[in-house]
Symmetry: C5
Subunit: 92 residues, 5 copies
């Protein structure tokens, strides 16, 4: 999984019918010290996440397991909301 | 999923027979502020997207779920057309 | 899928038995304006591609769908030969 | 698989129910000479790893095979603890 | 598949039981002119490769197809030993 910060929301009226009803959140990967990194991805929320929350997200085919519709074409899903990160060693 | 901008179209007469009839669109990943990033990919359109539209696309094995032929060798598919992006926090 | 340029061929006598008979082509990812990018990959040819041709290739588990032996350990396959790229907007 | 250094732990009370009970470790990819690289990932521990240990981790759908619940939405799992790395040639 | 140079070996006594007996090789991705690139990965050897050899390796779920135990949590496997690379065009 990766750590991300939810920074916004996507509206897409025309979409795959299996995505109807999914909450699509713009999620920015984060690294050490909460730095924002790389490109934001669009993840399906499965845990009630909101903008400004730090989350855990899964990518690839495993993401679809977390979705309400297991057959949906989903490659990124938010599967947890981070309460705290305990860095006992400094990361890179 | 990722956000992309459709920038063109590919013509390929000789191709895997399961790709016959697929509309193959050159899609450029986009980041914060609609900046174009990384390499363009070739995605199968499944929602009637056109050049100049901002889209959501899926990569990897989940992409084939959106295709008409679920057994096609497809690793990228456009699954939504973006109406709007609501950035409530600035991304990286 | 991604766009690539076939730049060479690999010979490997000792290999997984399910790869015997596969044509293994060195394929360089290409971006806007046919620039060569990142690391070349080794893709199994499934459409009769040759050196110097621009091709479409699939990566990951979907690549094996294009192979003659659907159970082969293949993560990259050439699935089309590009006739033309119509860039209607400039990519990144 | 990749080599990583476990640098911390994640607490996430609200999460996918299939992740309940999983130990989620912040794991930093490492390269030659133990340099820390790229973004830390969050991996499910399956071998009793702890902070400060060098580990082997698997990403993608194969990671879920190592988990207690084979149906969990997991895309990264620690599958070994590295005793030693024998570099007989210098890496890049 | 990708091209790599085997640069060393990993010893991991505590590991997933499905990895017991696997030879784990530190493999450095290589690019044009045999330059060493990116992070080394740990690949399961399935063809009798040794340090100093140039190899073909598969990543992702397809790697497990090459392993002795098809259910092992493996995301990288060496599937061929490269005899020669015929570069007919220069890569990037």
């Amino acid at each position: 999984m990766q750590m991300g910060l939810v920074v916004g929301r996507v509206t897409a009226t025309r979409k795959d019918e299996k995505l109807i009803g999914s909450k699509l959140l713009i999620t920015q990967p984060i690294g050490t010290n909460d730095t924002l990194k790389y490109l934001p991805i669009i993840a399906v929320d499965t845990v009630g996440a909101g903008v400004g929350e730090k989350v855990l997200y899964v990518t690839g085919s495993m993401a679809s397991r977390a979705a309400a519709d297991k057959d949906a074409p989903i490659d990124a899903a938010i599967v947890g909301i981070i309460d705290s990160l305990d860095w006992e060693r400094s990361g890179g």
